[in-house]
C-alpha cells in the first residue's frame, strides 16, 4: 500500500513525450484525411471538446511539477483564443457540457478513445521509424461510429479536440542552464507541445490532425496563448 501521486505512465506516454518534445522552435506538421472531405456547411457548428491543457514547472532534474493556477489561466486563454479563431472562420463554436448527466458516461469513453487514438497517431505518424506499413502513405484514422452520438445532442457537424502542455524552468533549472552553458553542457528550458484533431461527426473520421512543438511561448499570457492556438489550428480545414 502506498500513496499514489500521479497516474502510472505506460510506454505509450513515454513515446508520446518523445514525439512531442522533438522540435525546438515553433513547428507544426499536419495531416488531412486521405478520404474525401464531406461537403462543409457554410457555417459549420464545431463542438469544442474539453480542452486538455496542463502547465507545469520544470525542476532542475527535469521533472514536471503541475501548476494549478497556471493551468487555470492557460486553459482560460486557450478557450478564449479558440472562440475568436472559430468566429473568424465563420464557424459556430458549441461548448461541451461538462456537468454530469446520463449521457456523460458514453461521452467520457469517447474522450478516452480519442486520447488513445491521438497518442497512436503521434507515435506512428510522426516517428518515421515506427510508421505502420499499412498506414505509411495514407491518413485514415477514425473514432468509429460511436462518435456520431455527439452530433445530435449538440447539433454539431465537427468535434475539435485540443491537447496542450506547457512548461517553464524553475529558478534552480535556470541556474542549471547557466552552469551548463559555462561547462558546455546543453540544458533545455521549458517546452510547449500539443496536438489538435478535427472529427467529422457524420462519420467519426479524424479528418485533420496537427502537432505543435515549440521551445518558446507561454500559455499564461493571453496574447501568446492566442499565437499558439493559431499556430496549432492555422490549416484547420474550416
Amino acid at each position: 500500500m502506498r500513496e499514489r501521486r500521479r497516474r502510472a505512465g505506460g510506454h505509450g506516454l513515454a513515446a508520446l513525450a518523445i514525439v512531442l518534445l522533438l522540435g525546438a522552435c515553433a513547428q507544426t506538421q499536419s495531416f488531412l484525411t486521405s478520404g474525401d472531405l464531406a461537403e462543409k456547411p457554410a457555417n459549420p457548428h464545431v463542438l469544442i471538446m474539453p480542452t486538455d491543457v496542463e502547465l507545469s514547472e520544470l525542476t532542475a532534474a527535469g521533472l514536471l511539477e503541475p501548476n494549478a493556477a497556471w493551468t487555470a489561466a492557460g486553459r482560460r486563454n486557450v478557450d478564449a483564443a479558440l472562440d475568436a479563431l472559430l468566429a473568424q472562420r465563420s464557424a459556430i463554436a458549441v461548448r461541451y457540457d461538462e456537468t454530469d448527466s446520463a449521457a456523460k458516461e458514453a461521452e467520457a469513453q469517447l474522450l478516452k478513445l480519442h486520447s488513445v487514438v491521438g497518442g497512436t497517431i503521434l507515435v506512428h505518424k510522426y516517428l518515421p521509424a515506427l510508421a505502420l506499413p499499412t498506414k505509411k502513405d495514407i491518413f485514415d484514422w477514425s473514432l468509429g461510429d460511436g462518435a456520431t452520438a455527439l452530433r445530435e445532442p449538440y447539433g454539431a457537424d465537427y468535434a475539435l479536440f485540443i491537447y496542450l502542455r506547457d512548461s517553464f524552468a524553475s529558478d534552480s533549472r535556470k541556474a542549471l542552464i547557466v552552469v551548463g552553458a559555462v561547462l558546455g553542457i546543453g540544458v533545455s528550458g521549458g517546452h510547449q507541445a500539443g496536438f489538435a484533431s478535427l472529427v467529422d461527426l457524420r462519420s467519426g473520421e479524424i479528418i485533420w490532425f496537427n502537432r505543435l512543438v515549440s521551445a518558446a511561448g507561454d500559455l499564461r499570457e493571453p496574447e501568446l496563448a492566442r499565437e499558439a492556438t493559431h499556430n496549432l489550428l492555422k490549416d484547420l480545414p474550416l
Binding site: R2, E3, A61, A68, A69, E105, A108, V179, V182
Partner: protein, 382 residues
C-alpha cells in the same frame, strides 16, 4: 581548473536555487481543507482530479451500492470527520493493494477485500491509507523527490563521471528510505486508529502474515505488483504484531460475519480473477486461508478443482475430480462445477462420467450460454 570553476558556479547556483525550494514542516491536512491554488499541492490535486475523472468511468470500478456502503462505513467509523473528504473506488483487480491520492481518492483493489478475513483486517488497510491522506504524504514525497533530484543534478554537473552516477544512486536511496518511513508511520498510526474505532488491532499483522505465506509459495513472487514494491513485509508484520500486543484488545470486535455477508456475492468473480493469474501454488495458499475459518463450501471446493484441472500435473486430474465431487455434495457448488467435472473426466478418459457430467450441466442451468459447445462435446464423446 574546470572543476574549481564549476564548484564556485555551483555555489552561486545553489544560492539561487535555495530561494525557491519549499522547506519547513508539512502540517497534517484538516477536515474539509483544500490547498490554495497557488501551491504545489494544488498541482498534485489537479493531476489526481483528472485521474479521478477517468477512473469514474472505468469498467473496473465496482459500482455496487451495498459493497461501497460497507467499505465506506468502516472508513467513517475510523475517522468520522475526514470521511466526507475521501472518495473510495473499489477496483476489480486480483492481487493485494490499495493506494491513496492526495486529493482524497482512495483506491481499494478487490484482491485486498477478498483476502481480508474480517472487517478489522479491512479497517487496518483503510486506516493505513487514511494516514497517508491526513499526513499529506504525497506532498511530502513529491517535495523530497524534487529537492533530492535537484541536489543530485547539481552535484553531477560539478563532479561528473562516476561520482555523478553515485549521486543518482544516493538520491534514489534517500527517496526510497523516505517512502519506507512514511509506510511505517501509516502502519503505526493506522493501527492506533483501528483500535480507537473498536477493532481488534491484532488483525493488522495477520493480513500481512497471510500475504507472506502466499509469497513463500508463489511460483513467481516477483510478478506480483505488491511484492515488488513492498520488500519488507516480514518486518512490517512483526512490528504491527508487537504494537498490537502492547495494546489492550479486550472488548474489540472482528466483524467477521458482516464481512463474509457483504463479500459473498462477489467472491466467485474475485476468485476467478485470482485463478486467472495462473500462479497455482499461490492460489492454493489463498484457498487454504479462505477455508481456514469454516468448512470448505461448494464454491471454494469448485475453485480447488479448477486449480488442479488447469494446472494438470501429476495427480491433478484425480484431485480435481475429488474436489468437484465434494463440491457437488454440498448445496453451494456453482452450476459450472458439472461442466468442469465433465472436462476433467474427459481428459482422464472416463467417457460415461463425462457424458453424465455434461448432461447434468445442461440440465442444471436454465439456459447456459455455452449450450451449443457442450452439445457439440457430447457428440464427440465415443
Amino acid at each position: 581548473m574546470k572543476c574549481a570553476r564549476a564548484t564556485s558556479l555551483l555555489t552561486a547556483a545553489a544560492l539561487l536555487a535555495s530561494g525557491c525550494a519549499q522547506t519547513g514542516d508539512i502540517q497534517k491536512i484538516e477536515p474539509g481543507e483544500r490547498p490554495s491554488i497557488e501551491s504545489d499541492e494544488a498541482g498534485l490535486w489537479m493531476q489526481m482530479d483528472r485521474f479521478e475523472e477517468d477512473l469514474k468511468t472505468s469498467g473496473k470500478v465496482i459500482a455496487d451500492p451495498d459493497l461501497n456502503a460497507y467499505v465506506r462505513d468502516i472508513l467513517c467509523r475510523l475517522k468520522a470527520d475526514y470521511c466526507v473528504d475521501i472518495r473510495i473506488y473499489i477496483v476489480r483487480t486480483a492481487d493485494f493493494n490499495a493506494s491513496m491520492a492526495p486529493n482524497g481518492v482512495m483506491i481499494v483493489w478487490t484482491g485486498i477485500i477478498l483476502r481480508a478475513r474480517n472487517e478489522a483486517q479491512l479497517a487496518s488497510v483503510l486506516g493505513h491509507e487514511l494516514v497517508h491522506y491526513i499526513g499529506r504524504h504525497a506532498l511530502k514525497r513529491w517535495r523530497e523527490i524534487r529537492n533530492t533530484t535537484d541536489a543530485a543534478v547539481f552535484f553531477t554537473f560539478a563532479t561528473g563521471g562516476i561520482a555523478g552516477i553515485l549521486a543518482g544512486f544516493a538520491a534514489y536511496d534517500s527517496i526510497m528510505s523516505f517512502s519506507r518511513d512514511m509506510e511505517r508511520e501509516a502502519d503505526s498510526r493506522g493501527l492506533a486508529m483501528m483500535h480507537a474505532a473498536g477493532y481488534d488491532s491484532r488483525e493488522a499483522a495477520k493480513i500481512w502474515q497471510q500475504l507472506i505465506k502466499e509469497k513463500e509459495e508463489s511460483d513467481e513472487p516477483k510478478r506480483s505488483a505488491f511484492f515488488s514494491t513492498h520488500p519488507a513485509t516480514e518486518e512490517r508484520s512483526k512490528t504491527l504484531a508487537e504494537l498490537a500486543a502492547a495494546t489492550d484488545n479486550a472488548g474489540t470486535s472482528l466483524g467477521r460475519e458482516r464481512h463474509a455477508a457483504m463479500t459473498a456475492p462477489f467472491r466467485h468473480d474475485w476468485l476467478l480473477d485470482e485463478l486467472r493469474q495462473r500462479d497455482y501454488a499461490r492460489f492454493e495458499v489463498l484457498l487454504d486461508q479462505l477455508s481456514e475459518t469454516g468448512q470448505e463450501d461448494g464454491e471454494l471446493l469448485f475453485f480447488r478443482g479448477e486449480l488442479h484441472r488447469l494446472r494438470g500435473e501429476g495427480e491433478d486430474d484425480a484431485k480435481a475430480i475429488a474436489a468437484y465431487t465434494a463440491a457437488l455434495e454440498s448445496d453451494s457448488a456453482p452450476p459450472e462445477t458439472y461442466r468442469s467435472l465433465g472436462l476433467v473426466q474427459w481428459s482422464a478418459g472416463n467417457t460415461a462420467a463425462t457424458r453424465a457430467a455434461f448432461e447434468s450441466y445442461l440440465a442444471s442451468e436454465r439456459d447456459p450460454e455455452d449450450r451449443a459447445m457442450i452439445e457439440h462435446y457430447l457428440q464427440q464423446i465415443p
